[in-house]
């Protein structure tokens, strides 16, 4: 179990970024193997991908696929999934909401022109009227620093990831959400997360046009 997890993906955020965040927050060092061509991906599909899909993470002797399976495994292993079934369920409820919003942002990143503009409107609307109010309310109701059970969990890591992702396209997204602003500051200062947010970490930047074109080619 001393081997570092190995992440198999392309060199970009996509669906692997949440996993990078979680491992980093948990203080787990990991390695990455990037595929860069269609042929390399085909080879992976033909050999080690359960549903011929990525992300795939080699960890503890297993080749795990499916984001949620991977995230929940890592979270559980590192005590980031609550102390009982009820806490765990709340964590997953909150995590799923952030993943919905991140999914919209992923779709936005591959659209262009008018379609992209409409998507941004949708994201802005949902961020300000659906998702951020929901999390602000959670924090307000119990007055604690973390979303569930007064300690850091998968939900907190995904929420900070989501907040930063949203702010990349909607800079004033947190205006009107004072508790989320405080949450963002606190989370960003947690040592493992602070390290992940600093240059030189394995955190990936937003994809530029060239990377997007390359990704399209790989998955075509």
């Amino acid at each position: 179990m001393a081997n570092k997890p190995i992440l198999h993906y392309f060199n970009g955020r996509g669906r692997m970024e949440s996993i990078r965040w979680l491992l980093a927050a948990a203080g787990v060092e990991f390695e990455e193997q990037f595929f860069e061509t269609k042929e390399e991906l085909q080879k992976l599909k033909a050999t080690v991908l359960l549903f011929q899909q990525v992300p795939m993470v080699e960890i503890d002797g297993m080749k795990l696929v499916q984001c949620r399976a991977i995230l929940h495994y890592i979270a559980e292993k590192h005590s980031l999934l609550g102390k009982d079934l009820k806490e765990r369920t709340l964590i997953i409820m909150y995590s799923e909401g952030t993943m919905e919003l991140m999914e919209l942002l992923m779709i936005y990143s591959v659209l262009t022109g008018e379609e992209q503009k409409q998507k941004l409107d949708e994201i802005t609307n949902k961020t300000k009227n659906r998702y951020f109010p929901a999390y602000e309310k959670v924090l307000k109701t119990h007055g604690q620093n973390f979303l569930v059970g007064n300690q850091m969990s998968l939900a907190d890591v995904q929420l900070i990831e989501t907040i930063l992702m949203v702010e990349e396209v909607i800079p004033d997204a947190l205006s009107g959400f004072p508790l989320l602003q405080a949450f963002k500051t606190r989370m960003s200062n947690i040592p493992t997360i602070k390290k992940f947010l600093a240059p030189g970490s394995k955190r990936k930047p937003v994809a530029d046009a060239k990377s997007l074109e390359n990704i399209r080619k790989i998955f075509s």
Partner: protein, 276 residues
Amino acid sequence: MFALLTCSQDYKKFGFSTWVLVRLLVLSCFSENQELRIMAAKPILYYFDGRGRMESVRWLLAAAGVEFEEVLLETAEEFDSLIKDGKLMYQQLPMVEIDGMKMVQTRAILRYIAGKYNLYGKDLKEQVLIDMYTEGMKELSDLFMLVPFAALEDWEKSVKFITEKATQRFLPVYEKALKDQGKNYLVGNQLSWADVFLLEVILMVEECKSDALSAFPKLQEFKAAISKLPRIHKFLQPGSPRRPPMDEAGLEAAKKLFNLEKGLLFKYSTIVLVEL
């Protein structure tokens, strides 16, 4: 009365929920146990009268032997009312009232039920296998759910596309898993959520392509074995909470309720299927 019940060998016949209710009656004579009262209440499912994203929840509760009630929404106004009452965390359905919680997000609901009723494996390794398998099934089931919403002209194309994904990508994985396991459980040595979900998905595929299992002998055996389990068998009979496939009327109702548009399938198929 309590003594009588615990001595009685027949309490199992009454069904778990009835036993709990009676015990509760007795206990409430002696104490105000709020928690027990909440735990004894049947889960309430809030959705429209169709399969959609709630069907997997109905399946799992049935497999766990849990009786439930349903609040079936019919108009956008009823939906708005739930939202205004602050009952839906993300203003979305499904929502299940269970054990004092207003649970949303299908994945959270299913994992809670699986965890509570011992359908989630015996350790973390079994759990992650169940997660991997069920996530694959969810991808497939989400595609099937979109079929009725495909624009009419795309319908045949949609069905072909989805059944191909089923028979080429997903079903072979489960066939192999069953073969490697050498028994009619996908994971470990007992029934899990993964088995219940797999049966649901198999039946969904067969509704679109009746011979979908022709190349998968292990899946055929699995289907027969799981369908025979008493609670599953009961759920497959007429009169159970199981819903039929969506028809024209149901489609119109869902569209009105959820404000949906045509052509959803192909609008999202590139995103759904590109392994981004």
